[in-house]
């Protein structure tokens, strides 16, 4: 019962983050929504691990958090570089890779 509620909660947070990723324009806003999605996935993993007494889930979430932090560092530096070169903060304007 409590596991189902936890899973539904994390899915709701995941969907809110998905909406933010799809509908926001500012690059940092998209990044923040992406963090929300990662966080929801971590919560879901830990809920299942908790319900089954699965200790490896803790290690998995730990590695997930650390990798997310590395990804945020690289993503923000890419954003700063794009802002300096293209003078924009909007994801729509960063379309130089489009053929």
């Amino acid at each position: 019962m409590i596991l189902e509620r936890l899973l539904v909660l994390s899915f709701v947070v995941f969907s809110i983050g998905l909406f933010g990723v799809l509908a926001r324009r500012h690059v940092i806003a998209i990044l923040l929504s992406l963090e929300l999605m990662f966080n929801a996935v971590n919560l879901a993993i830990l809920s299942v691990a908790w319900a089954h007494g699965w200790l490896t889930g803790v290690i998995l979430v730990l590695f997930g958090i650390a990798i997310t932090v590395a990804e945020v560092a690289v993503g923000l530096s890419l954003f700063l570089l794009a802002e300096r070169i293209r003078k924009t903060t909007r994801a729509d304007d960063l379309s130089m890779l489009k053929g």
Binding site: E4, F19, R24, R25, L43, V61, A70, V72, S77, T89
Partner: protein, 160 residues
């Protein structure tokens, strides 16, 4: 975890998540994200994983929020002026994904064991015995990410 604690935490997490997505000022969005991350850390505490709660607050809330706020400080535009880009299809897609995910939950049999993880001790021991190689690889990854971020964000032209 009792019902009252669950509902209080769930309401708090939902409000913080909506605040991240809906607030126009990006500083506010970042602080709402901090609220969501701290609420998740309280969830980890309630799910008997105190090690994860500590890592969540130290690394995630501390590290990521510091990075994001610092990037916002040196960004010219921190308000999302034209905020939405096609919000209706995004909303429909998000609701569809939510429905699919929730249908997975309902198809389970619902028979769950007692629940409970160890305290931080067992997780820490297995992190430094069985999973020590991935742990060290992770430190190499973090080092590479730091160097990569430095190289990418460096100003062109003034070589050290």
């Amino acid at each position: 975890m009792s019902d009252a604690i669950f509902w209080i935490l769930a309401l708090s997490l939902g409000v913080c998540a909506l605040g991240v997505v809906l607030s126009r000022n990006l500083y506010r969005a970042a602080y709402w994200l901090a609220g969501a991350l701290v609420t998740t850390a309280v969830f980890y505490l309630a799910l008997t994983a105190p090690l994860l709660a500590a890592v969540q607050i130290l690394l995630y809330t501390g590290g990521v929020l510091t990075l994001v706020v610092y990037a916002l400080v040196i960004t010219a535009q921190t308000d999302d002026i034209l905020r939405w880009r096609r919000p209706v299809p995004a909303l429909v897609l998000a609701i569809l994904v939510l429905a699919v995910l929730v249908s997975f939950v309902e198809s389970g049999d619902g028979a769950v064991a007692v629940g409970g993880l160890d305290d931080g001790r067992a997780a820490g021991v297995s992190l430094f015995s069985r999973y020590v190689v991935p742990f060290e690889l992770l430190s190499i990854l973090l080092l590479g990410a730091i160097f990569g971020a430095l190289v990418i964000a460096r100003k062109e032209g003034n070589e050290p």
